[in-house]
Amino acid sequence: MHEACPLSQLAPGDAIRLDTSPPIAVFHTEEGELFAIDDTCTHQDASLADGWVEGCEVECPLHASKFNLRTGGVDAPPAKLPVRVHEVIVQDGTIMVRESEEEPNLPPGVKVDGYV
């Protein structure tokens, strides 16, 4: 389990990036839902926490691939592979993330601990 931050510090519309390996992005949508996915776009090296969230989708800030926050699936290219989704739990007012056990789809040239 990774501790993200107190729920009170992540306003709706905001996102944070956790310094895990690989990094994880946690989103609090305008609609009030919490989602966690891998932070690194599967296309190239960009942080999805810096992306644009609309509804239940995040658009990559570099080349506008879209990922579904619920499933991790690619809704718009150039990315081809999905990001992993992680379970979010709010415990005593703190956002916690249970990391998926699947293999992450990191972009070419990027390893779990960062750049090659």
Binding site: S47, D50, W52, H63, P108, G109, Y115
Partner: protein, 401 residues
């Protein structure tokens, strides 16, 4: 429409072909490409690919499972376009009859005639260029980069990280002043010095000393002589439109098009780096040489070609990114007409800032250096603003020629 021929098999040609299928075109689709390689992505050529972090396979833009049902003619050039009979003559002697043509021939790297052909002089536009240059990046070697545009700057950055001694020569007082304006060009130029690269602005080259077919020294106008093991010429690109001379297609700086990519000849559109679309805000034709334009705009042009009629969607302001010295630079909009630049987040000294360009009270462009999140918000805002022009007429040729 029975047969659609796309000339140019790179990002914009592939995007046009995909858009045609996505928009329901079921006829014969032919893609002609001068390079032997199937479509590949160019931006990494000066970044991760040059640095050896990713492989050629990673550059592929299309997958085998791409359900395009297209005929690919690779390693073949279009040499002539007959707009009366709508036929394209190819370098292998064949000719193709078309009902619609998409011109997507991109641009080529400009060369310096006096050193063209020297064995240690390189340009960087194609995979073959990048392969050749990649083999040259050994630590300790001296590289002189001519031109501090994006490709010059990125190559300098990658070469420096590989341990080369790098000097960049730029004729103007600040690099990138065309793209970013003089003030921000100067701010971004600071990245070179911070990255350990010598950046000589306001400096011209007087001559090259050539020994045995390769450049040994670059001689500057102040008399200095820079020893060079490798010379990278990054002095911009020129649209690949020579083959269209005399075809009746109107040419300027690129193929002149209306705001939906239509040329002056019906059933012929142009997209990507070879095309200069009419821009309502600038009231001029403007050739955009960026990846996102080559990806997004073909869908508009193909819609105009297949469906005719009105422009379905607004064209977003040009957007590009560049990675240099570990910094991410992003820019959207047009600097044209701005009268001030305001730093809205961060500060120039920290090399982390967001600057907004205003014409009067109207934001017309935004530059972010290591400010991805703020940049994304501003870019979305500019895109929405541009949608105000969506209903404008698609633009006339008479207005600009």
């Amino acid at each position: 429409m029975q047969t659609l021929v796309v000339i140019g098999a790179s990002l914009s040609g592939l995007s046009a072909a995909r858009a045609a299928r996505a928009q329901g075109f079921a006829g014969r689709l032919v893609i002609v490409g001068a390079e032997l390689h199937p479509p590949y992505d160019r931006p990494p050529l000066s970044k991760d690919f040059l640095a050896g972090r990713i492989s050629e396979a990673d550059l592929a833009l299309s997958e085998v499972d791409d359900d395009l049902a297209a005929e690919w003619l690779l390693g073949v050039k279009a040499v002539r376009l007959d707009t009366e009979s709508m036929t394209v003559a190819l370098s292998d002697g064949r000719s193709l009859a078309a009902d619609g043509v998409v011109l997507a021939t991109g641009a080529s790297a400009r060369v310096l005639p006096e050193v063209d052909g020297c064995s240690n002089v390189f340009t960087l536009r194609t995979l073959d260029d990048a392969r050749a240059l990649r083999g040259q990046l050994q630590p300790g070697r001296k590289m002189v980069v001519v031109g501090a545009g994006f490709i010059g700057a990125e190559t300098a950055s990658t070469a420096r990280a590989a341990g080369l001694d790098v000097t960049v020569i730029e004729r103007s007082a600040a690099p990138l002043s065309g793209a970013l304006g003089a003030e921000m060009g100067a701010a971004v130029a600071g990245l070179h010095a911070a990255g350990g690269v010598d950046m000589l602005c306001g400096t011209s080259i007087k001559s090259f000393r050539i020994l045995g077919g390769s450049v040994s020294h670059v001689v500057l106008d102040d008399g200095r002589e820079l020893p060079a093991d490798i010379v990278l010429v990054g002095v911009g690109g020129q649209p690949n439109t020579d083959w269209l001379l005399g075809s009746g297609i109107q040419l300027g700086n690129g193929v002149l098009c209306d705001a939906a990519g239509r040329t002056n000849i019906p059933s012929i559109v142009a997209v990507g780096d070879c095309a200069a679309w009419w821009n309502h805000r600038l009231q001029a034709h403007h050739r955009v040489e960026h990846w996102t334009g080559a990806l997004e705009r073909p869908a508009l042009a193909v819609a105009a070609l297949l469906q005719g009629g009105t422009v379905p969607r607004a064209v977003h302001p040009p957007y590009f990114w560049s990675d240099q010295y570990g910094s991410r630079i992003q820019f959207a909009g047009h600097v044209h007409g701005h009268d001030r630049v305001q730093v809205e987040h961060g500060c120039l000294e920290d090399q982390s800032f967001l600057a907004v360009y205003y014409a009067g009270d109207e934001p017309v462009a935004v530059l972010g250096v290591n400010q991805v999140r703020q940049f994304t918000r501003w870019r979305k805002f500019l895109n929405r603003e541009a949608e105000r022009y969506a209903d404008a007429p698609a633009g006339a040729f008479a207005a600009a020629s």
